[in-house]
Homo-oligomer: 463 residues x 2
């Protein structure tokens, strides 16, 4: 796209007039730094990086882009794991990181009004300071932005109790592809006057509109987190215990599983990891219930014992809990360290299919001769199989790529999805046909056209 240097120069002139010189960057270092997200997937060569400071400036960028039919790639912190924010050739990279104000926290309505560039943990801390709670906690929350969380409908460990980012987005201000600014709906808890544009934009990975302000729902602060960690001799016992915990009345705020491959990788990679030795599966169950957090943890422990747990640790003190969570978070680096590189999946299946999923992943690992370690959010069926391989060994690279495609197909085969919380980006476009089918894909492209008839918003992504 945009092979015409005369038009490119005109675009840059118009952008500088609208945003000022400092917010329009074409130097190689600026462009290189914003070319791709954390996925490492391939990206194109952008025309320019812009850093708008206001909704009006975002609107001006969209107007200029639509006049010249130039692609626009909205970007946040670039913490994405599917290439959704990667540059495309000739694009305007629209970084929303400078729009990072927490506009308002309202304790009566229990909402926060924020700009898209606010870092997730910064919002969480600001609302916690006034006794409120923003539950979504993607793994990248220390550097991901709310805009990016909205683009991917980000999840995290607390989804099992509280839901995903979409569940906390009340209303959005968005800039359309042609520069018009609209609100997707009122900020009330309930409203059915229109179609649910808010929910539609959430998870659309920047393909429908550019989010310039979000009204987010908050909850009263939860109780102190209590928890238990149990190990099992088989992954089947751990899954059965997880299902029993979910069937019980004490909904955990986090319910994570790690399999034997992951446990061995963490034990090898993390000194003083605090993990029990020799277990084939680990279950971590937390509760933040105000009235009964300690009772909940005890109930999870009882359930684990009823399902033949080898060890049960009631993780009494916060330091012990932090150590366990740190070990859980070492999952990805530990798997990567096994052979130097890894492919990280993000599949989800109905919980009743998890045992079959794990059995078939073990078969796949054996067949292809590569370690596949699986862990993640067992409470909502969203697991992250990680394929470890040696990047210097071509046979392993190819085997890992085959494993990747087989795992995506497996998720769909078990009635699930190729992505639970990371998004499609550029990485999983090839899997869409199998999961969605041609009619749904056609419908989604028609919806895209309704928002963006020229197709300039993040082309080549998501859809």
């Amino acid at each position: 796209m945009l092979a015409d240097p005369v038009r490119a120069a005109a675009v840059l002139t118009e952008l500088r007039a609208a945003l000022g010189d400092a917010a329009v960057r074409t130097d190689a270092a600026s462009l290189a730094a914003r070319r791709g997200d954390a996925s490492g997937t391939s990206s194109g060569t952008p025309l320019v990086l812009v850093l708008p400071a206001t909704t009006a400036q975002v609107s001006a960028v969209a107007r200029i882009a639509s006049t010249h039919r130039i692609p626009v790639v909205p970007q946040g912190a670039l913490s994405g794991l599917a290439g959704g924010a990667n540059a495309v050739d000739g694009a305007i990279l629209l970084a929303l990181t400078a729009m990072d104000a927490i506009v308002r926290i309202d304790p009566v309505d229990q909402v926060a009004v924020v700009q898209p560039g606010v870092v997730t943990d910064d919002l969480a801390a600001a609302v916690a300071a006034v006794g409120l709670f923003y539950p979504p906690d993607p793994a990248s929350s220390s550097w991901s932005t709310i805009g990016g969380n909205i683009a991917t409908n980000a999840g995290g460990m607390r989804c099992v109790k509280y839901g995903v980012t979409r569940d906390f987005v009340r209303s959005l201000e968005v800039v359309l592809a042609d520069g018009r600014v609209v609100r997707t709906g009122p900020p009330t808890v309930k409203h059915v006057a229109g179609l649910d544009l808010t929910g539609l934009v959430v998870g659309s990975e920047g393909t429908l509109a550019i989010v310039t302000e979000a009204t987010l729902a908050l909850l009263p602060a939860p109780g102190e987190t209590r928890g238990m960690c149990a190990t099992f001799a088989t992954i089947g016992d751990a899954l059965a215990a997880a299902n029993a915990i979910m069937a019980g009345p004490h909904r955990p705020s986090t319910l994570e599983i790690l399999d034997a491959v992951v446990l061995a990788a963490i034990v090898a990679h993390v000194p003083d990891n605090g993990l029990p030795v020799g277990a084939q599966a680990l279950l971590l169950a937390l509760s933040d219930d105000r009235a009964g957090g300690a009772d909940d943890a005890a109930a999870y422990a009882r359930t684990a014992r009823e399902h033949a747990a080898l060890t049960v640790d009631l993780a009494g003190d916060p330091a012990r809990l932090d150590a366990l969570l740190a070990a859980r978070r070492a999952f990805n680096p530990a798997m990567r360290a096994l052979r130097g590189a890894s492919i990280n999946e993000d599949i989800a299946v109905p919980r009743s299919r998890l045992a079959e999923l794990l059995a078939r992943l073990a078969d796949l690992s054996a067949e292809l001769g590569l370690p596949i370690g699986t862990g993640g959010h067992v409470g909502d069926g969203n697991l992250h199989p990680v394929i470890a391989f040696d990047p210097a060994a071509p046979a392993q690279r190819h085997a890992a790529e085959r494993a990747h495609l087989r795992i995506l197909a497996l998720a769909v085969d078990l009635g699930g999805t190729v992505t639970g919380e990371h998004g499609i980006g550029v990485e999983k476009l090839a899997a869409l046909d199998a999961e969605l089918g041609p009619t749904v894909r056609e419908l989604q492209r028609s919806i895209k056209s309704a928002f963006d008839p020229q197709g300039i918003l993040n082309p080549g992504k998501k859809l």
Copy 2:
């Protein structure tokens, strides 16, 4: 539409061939019975009523309708309050009441797979029988259907804790306007592979697609319901107590308010209503928390006392609680009985604007000389002002109509919506411009066209 009797005859012949004679009705009694919903709003003259038994038959109806460009009006129990299921001229009334099977209840995945004609309370009872819980509880739950609940994104008293119908719809099987059958997404808790078609169809009032099967999320059974009922000398005290309860850590499962006009109407209308005498406002707060329901009720009572409650009733036994809930449910009939007729609103505003809303409703009542009684779901800002008038007095009729329009404008003016849970139907089309604005309306119509390019699905409704 459809002035051509030759084409009408052809349509009927094709419908009979596809569904069998018994499922295709053109007799006056059958058509009259299905012309309009519970709103009493005006409806058109339909061509035919069809009662499909399978998704394939629904698909056949859509194919026939799209071939002949005939409108199709999907219908459930006709419990709607906005005319969303009303007949339009020349339409095929597509009643989904015969598709009333609970296909499957899965205790591991905690989902129910149901056909659209299942009555809400029947589903709730079936899942309760296996220790599970379907929270959405619209006031019409004893006769409304899941399909209708999905069409309007129905709410109810428990929304304040559990959310609306959309929050419990995991995946839908729908028939498109041209007869194609698709699934809107996988039934997993989390998935971000596509745009959120599921959420988009929920609340679309039959304008985008015809729901033929729904996978609904369930929760473990809650605890026994405990509660308290408090009365206050002013509505302001009651609102302040409600805000304090919502700010506290014990999220109520129901938080309802009734103002002085409603209380007086119920006291006059319902013998043995169990309501305290002379109060200007009443607050009902319930908890179904397993660990701490009784503690929660006590906390609500303390909060009510801290906000100058006149009386606080801890509603210790279930019979007392049932009596209070029955009084709350008498709200609409009691208001109607005041003068013989009523207009029932369904507005929602941010909770911080409720005091202003109630003050302005009182001003409006005084100005127009009509009783306006307000009550409802104070916990999520969704209130139901009811305008009482004498249908035999033209001046009162006109004043009531003026009050109706003024209340809709007031909701929008306070940053809210003209409908929190009932839908737009035909009743509130005129209010859409003020609430949504022209750009959002245009977007919504473009989305409608993406689903239904001929515009045959429930034309003249919602959008």
